[in-house]
Amino acid sequence: MADAAPVMPASTEVLDGKRPWLIAALRYVNRNPSLGIGMVLLLALALFSGLGRLFVDVSTAAPLSAPPGAAPGPGLLFGSDPQGRNLLSVMILGTWLTIRTGLIAGAIGIVFGSALGLISGYIGGRTDAIITWMIDVLLTVPAILFLVMIAAVVQTGLSSTGMALVVAALAWRKPARAVRSQMLVLRSTGYVEMAKLSGGGPLRIVFLEIVPNLMSFLVSSFVAAVSAAILACVGLEAMGLGPQNEPTLGMTIFWMMEFSAFLRGMWWWILPPVTILIILFVGLYLVNAGLEELSNPRLRQRA
């Protein structure tokens, strides 16, 4: 099939000179459906959570805000749980809390992990060996052990931000390793040799020459890190080890299992958090796949 460029409607010809990058982006998204669908899903969740607060009073996510255990009906779009929480508010608030936790943990993980990986990979030699060894050792620590112990030490109780920090403490391990391997490949490339010859210091070379080339890899790693962080958080919360006072998605799943939602047929309590989580994970995955395609042209569809 020939390269099918979409036919531009007349109106964009007016915009053409003004926003060429937008058109190019839209055109690309059309050819890379993963990225497109993924972004749409994430955007939908962001809108649901962000705009939802304008229309719904999120203080009703607290217990005793609605008749307990009510099925969806007028005024209670998602029904209520047995302690009287309005599940629509819980979903709006919870989606935001969960996403925020993932973003914080993923961001810290990526920033710290990449920095470490880049520097270690660039310097090489003894330092690199020691740092890699440390990362390998830390990779063997079971996440559960670490997380429960930290929760035990922080006696004043874990908030969702606290949890994000705890997960971040483990989230940097994989990115460090991955970025380091990329660095190993790149440090012997031509332009890096050039930069060395022209007298650039190591930091300059790493952050001004190499990083821009790794951009799409870093972004895709970030998305993967966010996804992994959310997975870890939700997992911990579902086991009951999370911030019990905040209506996050993981805590909702925990309460739902704790109070036998399945046996009681409370489908309105089971489906929303599970669906939102699925949308979230699928969205992040698709965006990630799309970014991978972006950075690896061989993966692109021959349209």
Partner: protein
């Protein structure tokens, strides 16, 4: 491709089979309608203490739902009718000053290996526990007995005298009579004398018939997910005419797993009795959807038997936060118990206003105490009154609606163990709605914080009285008010010298002494006046029992015992011979 998959499946099956603890010998099969299947909830999805049948080991969570019911006590006790049932013993007598107890054994009980049960076994058990309590302290009940008992003497072949360190009119009820989680298991001296370290002794060997007990059962299988107790051919109690020989030929106990799993197993008639289902809604569904399932109260609320563990919101009297009695009274007024019960238990419970569980035998005390509760407003929901009291205490509501004093908002964390997950968040929300920034926690951390006295507020029960008000009152004696950091499961940590004096008085009188009534009122007057805690509701064990294969379960109409099978008293052993086949 298909071949590889089949090979893999077969390989995984083989691995599973090889290791799931198969025995070399064959097991006789027993028809389903002569088998009782019990699903008891343990912390893990399987039994981890396989082959442990030592009743004094602290790791008893696996056999307490099964094997412990093989051990018979000196006396059973039916709390429903407040009656002591002599079993291995025929009676007990106190010395006039309550400094000693004399117990007379029954003539006739035999161990499962044929040897007679004698007073020597009782003496051996007591001495072993006392020695441990004074020494290594690694057996259950050891420390308690050592503190109470001075000496154990054999009076004659059937009688033992126990001399106490302090006069105690309640010693028999604390150690010799088995009910709920109270009571001892009697060990065969001829086996245990060669046991070595009693804490390390497993007391388990199928070939030898261990554990040897006086009950009509013997263990024929104990793996990580099955315990088989088969009926013996003879039993001393059947011979003596005290009890019928059980119709049940085999009791199979399995780990219950999650609540949902247990509920589904009993709903599909796969098991006959399961552990306590905390969620009243789920039990209601079970009894309505399967007509064969019943509970202690049949198909009506509260769907279960009352327990000795009524729930209260405890203040930590050593933390300083609740020093002002007005604040404590106010919090008590902020709790809408009816709303709590409707939300958490679907209305299937009752509010309390005292630390006593509502057993029939405690009714006189509870009735006597009601006017005091009304007078001091304990158990009364009245938000306006609460606000008044907070103002008196110096608090003003700030912009966020939270009570504030000297710029400090009043915040508190309610710690609890997970069984209180249904009611905890609702209590926290009620307090929040009334102006106290409360939040609820039931993480593994919470129980440690509560136990060490570092908590603000906690939701917990009362392991005290069943028929004798003294036990609950004694929980609040100042000797139980441990300092912060020292672990105890009496959370209140409150002390009041006048209260102590009255309770000590009661302690010296026998439980049936008429003077106790007014002393209880006097003590409770102080307790209510000081708003020591905020009582909330009764606690029930909502145990579903399936009548497809077995009937004769204990119910309100036939309350011959508590139906709970996990009590460490082994009281379920009294129920087993009384179950009749359904057909």
């Amino acid at each position: 491709m298909v071949n590889r998959r089949t090979v893999l499946s077969c390989a995984s099956v083989a691995v599973t089979i090889v290791f799931t603890g198969m025995n070399a010998w064959s097991q006789t099969t027993v028809p389903r309608n002569r088998t009782l299947i019990v699903a008891g909830q343990v912390e893990a999805p399987v039994y981890r203490n396989v082959g442990l049948a030592n009743p004094y080991s602290i790791n008893n969570e696996d056999y307490r739902v099964s094997i412990i019911n093989m051990f018979e006590p000196l006396f059973y006790y039916n709390s429903n009718k407040n009656e002591v049932i002599p079993w291995l013993a025929t009676g007990f007598d106190y010395a006039a000053d309550f400094s000693a107890v004399t117990v007379k054994m029954r003539n006739g009980p035999t161990w499962s290996d044929g040897k007679p049960f004698t007073v020597d076994d009782v003496i051996f058990t007591l001495e072993m526990l006392i020695a441990n309590g004074n020494g290594k302290k690694d057996l259950l009940n050891g420390a308690g007995l050592a503190a109470a008992v001075k000496a154990v003497t054999k009076v004659d072949a059937q009688t033992v005298r126990i001399d106490l360190n302090q006069p105690d009119p309640r010693f028999a009820f604390k150690f010799l009579i088995n009910y709920f989680d109270v009571g001892l298991q009697w060990l065969p001296a001829h086996i245990w004398k060669d046991a070595g370290d009693p804490a390390a002794f497993r007391n388990f060997d199928i070939a030898k018939g261990w554990p040897v007990t006086t009950g009509p059962w013997t263990v024929t299988r104990f793996t990580d997910n099955q315990v088989f107790m088969d009926r013996r051919t003879e039993w001393w109690a059947a011979k003596a005419g005290i009890a019928p020989m059980p119709e049940i030929q085999r009791v199979i106990t399995i780990p219950g797993g999650t609540r949902d799993r247990m509920a589904q197993m009993i709903a599909s008639n796969q098991v006959d009795i399961i552990s306590d289902i905390q969620i009243a809604e789920v039990v209601r569904q079970l009894v309505t959807q399967n007509p064969k399932i019943t509970t202690f109260t049949g198909t009506n609320a509260p769907y279960g038997a009352r327990d000795w563990w009524p729930t209260s919101l405890y203040f930590n009297h050593k933390s300083g936060k609740w020093a002002d009695v007005n604040v404590r009274r106010a919090i008590n007024h902020y709790l809408d118990r009816k709303q709590l019960i409707d939300t958490a238990y679907a209305g299937a419970s009752e509010a309390t206003f005292s630390p006593f569980p509502g057993f029939g035998s405690l009714k006189p005390s509870i009735d006597a105490v009601k006017p005091l509760a009304d007078k001091h407003g304990i158990g009364v929901f009245d938000r306006a009154r609460g606000d008044q009291l907070m103002t008196v205490a110096g608090y003003k509501k700030n912009a966020g609606g939270i009570c504030e004093k000297d710029g400090q908002p009043l915040a508190a964390i309610i710690e609890a163990i997970p069984v209180l997950n249904a009611i905890g968040p609702v209590v926290a929300q009620q307090l929040k709605n009334s102006g106290i920034d409360a939040s609820f926690r039931s993480t593994p951390e919470s129980r440690a914080i509560m136990r060490d006295g570092k908590y603000d507020l906690t939701l917990f029960g009362h392991r005290g009285s069943i028929s004798d008000p003294y036990a609950s009152l004694e929980m609040y004696h100042s000797r139980n008010a441990f300092e912060v950091g020292r672990p105890t499961l009496f959370p209140a940590r409150w002390s009041n010298a006048d209260y102590d004096k009255i309770v000590d008085e009661i302690g010296k009188l026998a439980p049936d002494n008429p003077k106790i009534g007014e002393l209880v009122v006097a003590a409770m007057d102080i307790w209510m006046r000081e708003a020591v805690e905020a009582p909330i509701s009764e606690w029930y064990h909502r145990v579903p029992m399936n009548q497809t294969y077995w009937t004769g379960w204990p119910t309100e109409q036939n309350p011959y015992m508590q139906p709970s099978f996990w009590y460490t008293s082994g009281s379920f052993g009294y129920v087993l011979p009384r179950l009749k086949p359904a057909n």
